[in-house]
């Protein structure tokens, strides 16, 4: 063990020239991967639901629908596998001092995630290629591990993110870790369950709204047979219910942030000074310690964060400027997420009321126009939410323990890698879009 001090000191932070490129490259990689994760979380369960309807009723429509969806899942999962591989490479390639210093604390989460990934990959292979080869029941059963692994995989990854935001169960001095308890760090952490539930619901919202928006687009073009109605109603039911619940889960997330990461909350709201009875501002621009041109809602922040209109909310001035995140990026990401989330929740209430009280699907063209927009917007909200929490954690990679700049690689080849990755992902996105278009026009 005596060698270890010298070892970690030797690893050390890299040159700072390319910090912002490295962060952008990481952000690009996440932005591409996370929507695919949303489908990994939610899509298998929806497909299984449709297949279970086929098993119950013997109605070929459900089998056709499940098969077609499973082909889409296969393409999205392939893209998810490879973009996820890139992410695991980047943890080392971009931030070797983060992985090198704290790998023994958080790495376990990814090691377990690896097994979830395995189960997903194995059973997706069986499920996708087993439609004509397995008995209907065996085929249905082969899909269940995919849905479970989609959940456990996100659980372990988010446990790592929870630890980065609320690092516990280790001691840190002279650039090395002591007394590491990896189980406690990942799963004994009080500050990750809200994030998990939030992301899990977001997965159902994104997958549900994106699918429903595609069929909603079809309706505007006049494609509205029983097949399309079924294909729209199922994902939309899930997405709308998740959207309503997400309003309250999101509020819970906000309160957790207020308690554990007050500086991050102050950045959400652009609260420069510690304030009693703090307001919320809608839009506007944060500059020199306050929000200009915003629409103020007095006392609302205190009420939301601490359930009291006169509660004191800690401002950005509680920490030195070097320890504050870039406020406007965080604030606009937060406002984007909340704004879109609110809009989706309103759309959801309209849908659920029509669906349940009048027992029919909405008939207004405007509803379907809004639905077409809801798909892409839900993806934007998802990414904005991750920007909120990840940029909101800055300048720390491990909150108040290690700065992102200290984690950076000393290999100064980042710009070339960044450009290459951007091009490859552009090609991948174009390719996946092409496949999805093709699949949407190909009968099974």
């Amino acid at each position: 063990m005596t060698h270890l001090a010298a070892i970690v000191a030797a690893l050390g932070p890299g040159e700072q020239k390319y910090l912002s490129q490295a962060r952008q490259m990481q952000a690009l990689s996440f932005a591409v991967h996370i929507p695919l994760v949303a489908f990994g979380i939610a899509f298998p369960a929806m497909i299984l639901f449709v297949e279970s309807r086929y098993l119950r009723t013997g109605d070929e429509l459900y089998r056709t629908l499940a098969r077609r969806w499973s082909r889409i899942l296969a393409a999205l999962f392939a893209a998810g596998v490879v973009t996820g591989t890139i992410l695991s490479f980047e943890l080392g390639l971009l931030w070797p001092n983060f992985t090198g210093t704290f790998g023994s604390v958080f790495g376990l989460g990814f090691a377990i995630e690896g097994f979830s990934f395995f189960m997903e990959a194995i059973f997706i292979g069986i499920y996708i290629y087993g439609w004509n080869r397995l008995s209907p029941r065996a085929h249905f059963a082969s899909g269940i591990p995919i849905a479970i692994a989609g959940f456990t995989g996100s659980l372990t990854v988010i446990s790592v993110n929870g630890w980065m935001n609320h690092p516990t169960h280790f001691r840190f001095s002279d650039g090395r870790v002591f007394d590491v308890n990896p189980w406690g760090a990942l799963f004994g952490n009080s500050y990750f369950w809200h994030e998990l539930v939030h992301m899990y619901l977001a997965g159902y919202m994104v997958a549900g709204f994106v699918l429903a928006s595609a069929y909603g687009f079809g309706r505007l073009r006049g494609r509205w047979a029983r097949y399309e109605r079924t294909a729209l109603a199922i994902p939309l039911a899930v997405a709308t219910l998740a959207s309503v619940a997400q309003v309250f889960i999101g509020d819970w997330n906000g309160r957790e942030v207020a308690t554990n990461q007050p500086t991050k909350l102050a950045a959400f709201e652009g609260l420069g000074k510690t304030t009693k009875g703090a307001p919320v501002h809608i839009v506007g621009w944060y500059t020199e310690g306050h929000v200009e041109y915003g629409i103020p809602l007095p006392h609302l922040l205190s009420l939301l964060a601490f359930h009291s209109t006169d509660a004191t909310v800690q401002g950005l001035d509680a920490v030195p400027p070097a320890d504050r995140p870039p406020v406007n990026v965080v604030r606009y990401a937060f406002q984007t997420m909340v704004g879109i989330g609110t809009g989706l929740a309103l759309l959801s209430v309209v849908y659920l009321a029509t669906r349940i009280r009048r027992r029919r699907l909405p008939e207004s063209t405007w509803f379907y126009r809004a639905l077409v927009a809801a798909g892409p917007l839900s993806v934007v909200a998802l990414i904005a939410g991750w920007v909120t929490t990840e940029v909101g954690r800055q300048p720390w990679v491990v909150y108040q323990v290690m700065r992102t700049s200290e984690a950076l690689t000393g290999a100064d080849v980042i710009p070339v890698g960044y450009a290459t990755l951007a091009l490859v992902y552009l090609a991948l996105a174009a390719g996946v879009a092409w496949v999805l278009l093709r699949l949407s026009r190909t009968p099974v």
Binding site: G103, F115, V197
Partner: protein, 407 residues
Amino acid sequence: MHLYELPLWFALVGLALYTVLGGADFGAGFWQLVAGRGKQADEIRDEAHHAMAPVWEANHVWLIFVLTVVWTAYPAAFGSIASTLSIPLFIAGVGIVMRGGAYALRGGTRTAGEQRRVDTIFALSSVLTPFALGTVIGAIASERVHLGNPGGSLVTSWLNPTSIAIGVLAVASGAYTSAVFLSGDATRRGDRVLADRFRVRAIAAGVVAGAVAIAALIVLHFDAERIFRRLTQGPGLPALVASVIAGIATLALVWRRRYEPARYLAAVAVAATIVGWALAQNPVFLQGLTIREAAAGHDTLVAVVVAIVVGALLLFPSLALLFRLTLGGELRDSGQGSVETSVESRRRGLVNVRLDARLSVAFLVAGIGFLTVANAGWAHAIGVACFFGFILSGFRAALPPGIVDAD
């Protein structure tokens, strides 16, 4: 065996499996790349695609497994490797993206011409990726990485005789194992002509891989003396001998068209080279750093070992199922239903929509009470459960059986 080296042995098992299984996938891509044009070439590319499609994702997860185990159990060594060898690792990563892209895109192709374009554009990655990963092994084996960020030259650490030799060996051995596997797959499907074409390729690739392996040993003699000595005279020797024997025996079996045992022996030949390297490299991890020095603390090592053992109990039966179905040809899409659907029409009675709707509203109200109004942790847990109850009962209300159909 010590606790501090146990996770590394697990990682090496993963690496050996990745070299065999992932290597076979890249090898299949290699044959797609060099298939040329025309009907015969289309058949070669189709076979290479269809045989691998159900398993390629699972094959690639082995690499993730290796990465995560190493960064958890040997973080400082991982950090040094990742920053020093960032260029080949990045090339490998991009190659994997392109390989996956080929599988994703092939699902949308309609004509042989489109398939050829997808296969050949992306198959270049099948050469790049194993080569780049081979150079990484070469860099570690020839001790060109030491601790640091970066711990060694960004260029010569992986562009050197040992790295290049092992990179070429990785490409050749992947092509070899893949051709052996595809011969067997084509035979099982009854396509003797196609099997014979892969047989010729297997024999040619086997001879080339053997020659490259001998050349690599000569390179090691001059460029990585320690590994060479321990491989030819020391603890690595049994594995080296095993690899040579298995390699020659595979060739003989392929010659006699006995693909089933050849497949396993080919895997042994490749895996034995990984084991030989590991035995020769032990106890050195990086230049000036032993495995013991690189290992994480006791609790982390125990946690990793526990996680791997429990995970393996789930993983290996599942993998066995996948490979039994794949190798038995049961996952090859025949394009038509070969199973008579024997489903009973057991319609659930129309559930009471109103009851479900009320239940979901009750759950919503309770959820708001426990999660939003209350502040205790236990109340939040109940609140979250209520919200899931809201979604489930709401789902039943929004989608009772038959409602969509009746529209």
